[in-house]
Amino acid sequence: MPTTSRVFFKTAFAYLILGAILGMLFLIHRWLPLGDKLLTLRASHIPFLLIGWLTQFIMGGAWWLLPPLPSRPLPDDTRPERRGQHQRGSEPLFWTTFVLLNIGIWLQALFAPLYSWTHQETFRILDSLSGPFLVAAVLTFVLNVWARVRALGKG
């Protein structure tokens, strides 16, 4: 398992635990009130689980397990052969995906509740910036693995 996927998986499991703890607090709140502000953290619970956990886990798994790129894309290609980790695609681009995705998650997870509590316009702007970060993250990911969605054994 490459380092890149290991970081994705470990981060995904951390989000799963964080999301489940938040979910637990929401359910406890119905029995023992923990303060009205707690429920605004639903805006963090959802991206933690759907993006931080599930999406990030799938990305880490795809990077690890999809068929490798051919060592030489075309027979007359003069570029050096791809070897080892280079057959997975661009590692810097995969790290870019990781950074964009996690910035997007935290922008939403931190600033959506902060805006609900304070109604400061800055927080709303920061929260809405999460969208472009998340879109950029999934675009970089799909571009990076697109060519690896192919039949095994060719090249």
Binding site: K10, F13, A20, M24, L25, I28, W31, L50, L54
Partner: protein, 141 residues
């Protein structure tokens, strides 16, 4: 595929079917108006999909495919911990599924306590699974 992973994956498929069947009933209810029950099932159905189906499938596949410990008698980690995570996750999820509609139709302290317990069980489950799998997120040897 080891038996524990098979149980995780098969349980996930069962939740998938139940959640889609409920979703179909909820959609038909907009037209045929079967029962007010279906209107309070929204959050439970959502959690059946996200926790019961998607997350449980991911956990089962991780348990199956992540690198094993070659040097240990339990190459996938302690079975007891895997079963604890499975039991807590599913008891917690089913408890929520059974109690939440009644709670939404008429809150009672004992229902709220059972819902709190369901949240604790699910958080314990994912923490136990995290402990189980953490050491296996490592290079293949």
């Amino acid at each position: 595929m080891p038996p524990i992973a098979r149980i995780y994956v098969k349980t996930a498929f069962a939740y998938l079917i139940v959640a889609f069947a409920l979703g179909a009933l909820m959609l038909l209810d907009r037209w045929l108006t079967f029962s007010r029950w279906l209107r309070v099932l929204y959050f439970s159905q959502l959690h059946l999909l996200v926790v019961g189906w998607m997350s449980q499938l991911a956990l089962g596949v991780a348990y199956w495919m992540f690198p094993r410990y070659r040097e240990r008698p339990d190459p996938r980690g302690p079975d007891r911990l895997a079963w604890t995570a499975y039991g807590c996750l599913n008891i917690g999820l089913l408890l929520r599924f059974l109690c939440e509609p009644f709670y939404l139709m008429g809150p009672r302290p004992w229902l709220a306590a059972l819902l709190a317990l369901s949240g604790v069980l699910q958080a314990v489950a994912v923490t136990a699974f995290g402990v189980l799998i953490w050491g296996r997120i490592r290079p293949l040897r």
